[in-house]
Amino acid sequence: MTNHWIDIKNSNVVVIMGGNAAEAHPVGFGWVTEAMEHNNAKLVVVDPRYNRSAALSDCYAPLRSGTDIAFLLGLSRYLIETKQVNYDYVKAYTNASYIVREDFEFNEGLFSGFDEKSRTYDKETWYYELDEDGYAKVDESFEHPRCVWNLLKHHVERYDFDTVSNITGTPVEDYEKVCAIIGSTYTHDKAATFMYALGWTHHTKGTQNIRSMAMVQLLLGNIGVLGGGVNALRGHSNVQGATDMGLLCQALPGYLKLPSDKDTDLETYLDHHTPKPLRPGQTNYWSNYPKFFISQMKSFWGENATKENSFGYDWLPKWDQQYDFTKHIDMMYHGEVNGYFIQGVNAINSMPNRNKTLAAFSKLKFMVVMDPLATETSVFWKKDDKFNDVDPSQIQTQVFRLPTTLFAEEEGCIVNSGRWMQWHWKGANAPGESKPDAAILSGILMKLRALYKEEGGVLPEPINAINWAGYHDSHFPHGSEVAKELNGIDLKTGKQLDSFSQLKDDGSTACGCWIYSGSWTEEGNLMARRDNSDPSGKGITPGWSFAWPSNRRVLYNRASCDVNGKPWDPKRTIVEWKHDKWHGIDVGDFNMKLTPQESAHPFIMQQEGVGRFFALKHLAEGPFPEHYEPMESPIGTNPLHPKVISNPAVRMLDGVAETLGSHKEYPYVCTTYCVTEHFNFWTAHCRLAAISMPETFVEIDEVLAAAKGINSGDWVTVSSKRGELQTKALVTKRLQPLKVHGQLVHTVGLPRHGGYNALTRKSSSCNVLTTEVGDANTQVPEFKAFLVNVTKVEAI
């Protein structure tokens, strides 16, 4: 979230699209009802299903799953055409005036530079025209035909109401209503917030879904202001922290990059990842990259990181391609993986295409499951009727199941969606011999060290060098010790750092994660602060926990005022230039020593300091979003460009194309989701949750149900090209068939909570049906839009 939960109360329009806050984030949704009651806000819900968020909406519009980009680009077109644009904001704080290279093109669904064979783009042309100093050329009059504004206008003008409705299935009158409500926030005194979650990421163009919305917010001038923003409602309690900690195949903590084969040495690496400003006078905050990285290496390797050994740079593994879980499970499936650690994840239920995952796991030599609960994953080798049809004697995997503590039994910090680092305390001992994850991994590491010492082996240096020496008990690094390490320390004085501005690139500071700097200073643990006062009344509680970065609650808040530092809306003041000084209710997201004119580039992490309508080379499938069909399309074509149906830049692993079904065999769109009563597969182990929703089901619209003779409670088979499952039907008015491109498209909804080894009734995970094909950038699988067939089961 650029903003935070409480800030939703400041919104005038709340748009829930690509998420379902009432069900997945019910307490966060409480701030929506707050805005509706006390700020007269309107709630707009756009979703294939009339869900529990829609139940409280002022305006609900259905859309076909996987067509959000068409919906949002149509909204952008509407805003531009009806001039409901915050022009002051767009001119000052976006790249609308920047001039794009002459050789950039978009034709028939493809941007310039596409290579069909590799399904990738050569992105050379997706860039600004540069002047002799290397700065981007701009035309503030917006007259240049290749300035971003004109390219954008041209790009979205195809998305008129009828075209959008023809693709999305959203009735035109509903669509117009949504456009009008959202458009109303283009004025300075109104703000809209978008609340989205996995409903946008679980698509083969998930990143572009979000970009399409961010572009709308830029047009309306809604980013960096109270009640506005781009608000990802993160999933798990510490998925924000897990991402901050870089637990991804190409990442290091603090959004630093794990080096690739191209980063042959430290100098090359730093050169590749330290951007140069694209306009004069930019903050370009990533120019500090070397300070963040070298300090992290000092935290990783301690005294073993020296200038002479490039601070241990060579010990970091380098990647040659993306080894995300889909790729790694595919390697497993092909017998190329021997060992797998599964920490607090019920992978066999959560991963796409369960049958393939099961076959892949069965080829492992060993699996280590660390979990507080006895998950289906840990017993993937055990036969359980049709739910897990395996022969244990044929599975040669050694499986270790290690009991871990859970939140109530450990201290530490988790980061909520609003980037609040909240410290929690231990309330009880864990049952039996359970240990915290950190103790388990330390125990294994110490054994490995002993083995390498005894036997020698391949490259033991990093295993010995990794800094465990700073922990009092090398078998269990305590939360407080690691938290201090993450904040960072001045190695000369031994004092905790106050802020990342003190980091150095000469090895004199150590810091695990630069964005966490300031969270545990010499003052103590700022994450444990519990002053809930809100002096401004705007929902900003600076004394409660610590929000990264720098305890800042609203990101990009420089954009809340104009170039001269005057708030766009005096009622929404976050920072303000008054009497030759900056004042504010929040920590400014800029150097507050600069004048308004010097700091008038609020997006300080970007090389140009402005928001991007045109995304340069950052995304795989293009600098502008474009509507592509899901990989399995219910209409089998793309009404805009029939030759390019789905995302052309999607990664297709060998053999996966054959697992995709056609709309002729599998005519219905299936979407998977969580219901309020359950959290993924965990709560199936909680009696109270099991009572409130005892088994899973499939939601079917009344028209389809009537055609198939299905009544609520009947058993049905839901099948995709990848598998099938039996479940009970819930026939509902809340799903409606939609008219799409001359045909009626039915959506069926499948909650994702099925499990067979818990307290709920035995049922199959929805992932028996899902596809592993994922977003071209993040590889997040297309869990939200794939094709199925539904048949009634006569007897079961």
């Binding site: 009802t33 529990r52 009696r687 409130s692 409670g713 008015k733």
Partner: protein
């Protein structure tokens, strides 16, 4: 909890007055605003959690509503109804927080013949004492909202206590505390009526012309009031349109109340009559014939 906090008690007809009632204790109420509820079931789960109840894990019944009904181990239940507005054909998914209504004139208490098994506290809460309950089931049949349920094992009746254990230490009921959207509120009845009034005005402005407060007079008003989108159609929320304490009770009150106004003697007479004719009215489920025989004479006398 002091006896002085009790204003009504089942199965009693003592002549001697209780210790001084705390008349100044204000009545409390729960206000459920259906127009703000998102059907999350936090109230339902926290009720079971606080009261240490665990209903059996049931099965899918064709709706999000689980368990299917209230029971001795489920005192609060979210009910789900899909309603199509006739005027503009818009779908409304209605959620009803279903629990004891804490009637001002509680039919359960009136019906209960076991001394002190059901009481009404001065704050308006109707509470069951399971130690005293004999499992006759009168309250179950009497309740116009179909709330109390007999437990199949101990044969005692159970229902929402409005967390009287929390209330006595000054806390709000568990369901109200957990409510995510503020659809449930708790406070004095006066405050709840005021808030309801404001909210209904706001709803009228927002276009919910039929929004209104469900606080049925037939049971003397309720300690749980509900704001509905359409006050003319409580049935669509699973609520009775015109709940009454029961016809026979009403008749009784119509006869006795004027007498009471006339003087204490009449009251004493009635009380004596009641004591003599009824006393502790213990009902055994497996002996229906005996009662068939006995009670025409009772009603004759009255």
């Amino acid at each position: 909890m002091s006896t002085q906090d009790i204003i009504l008690s089942s199965g009693t007809s003592r002549l001697s007055p209780a210790a001084q009632v705390r008349k100044k204790l204000s009545k409390v109420a729960k206000l459920f605003d259906a127009t703000k509820c998102n059907g999350c079931k936090a109230c339902q789960v926290s009720c079971s959690e606080w009261n240490d109840l665990r209903a059996p894990i049931g099965e899918f019944t064709g709706s999000y509503q689980n368990p299917a009904d209230l029971s001795s181990e489920c005192w609060t239940l979210m009910k789900f109804n899909e309603v199509t507005d006739e005027k503009d054909k818009l779908l409304r998914w209605q959620f009803t927080h279903t629990a004891c209504m804490h009637c001002d004139d509680p039919a359960c208490l009136t019906a209960c013949s076991t001394k002190d098994a059901i009481v009404q506290h001065a704050n308006g809460i109707v509470d069951f004492d399971s130690d005293k309950c004999i499992g006759c089931g009168y309250c179950v049949t009497a309740c116009p909202f179909d709330v109390p349920k007999l437990d199949s094992v101990d044969q005692k009746a159970y229902k929402c206590t409005m967390c009287s254990d929390r209330l006595q230490v000054g806390q709000e009921p568990s369901c109200v505390k957990s409510c995510t959207t503020g659809a449930l509120k708790f406070g004095t009845r006066e405050d709840m009526l005021f808030i309801a009034d404001m909210r209904i005005k706001q709803l009228h402005e927002k276009g919910f012309a039929k929004a209104g407060l469900y606080n049925p007079k037939g049971v003397g008003g309720t300690g749980m009031m509900m704001i509905l989108h359409d006050i003319d159609d409580p049935q669509s929320y699973g609520l009775p349109a015109d709940p009454k304490t029961s016809l026979s009770i009403k008749l009784w009150q119509d006869v006795v109340k004027p007498l009471g106004a006339a003087g204490i003697i009449a009251t004493v007479a009635v009380a004596c009559l009641h004591r003599i004719t009824v006393g502790r009215n213990i009902v055994e489920e497996d002996e229906p014939a005996a009662f068939d025989h006995s009670h025409p004479s009772k009603s004759d006398k009255e």
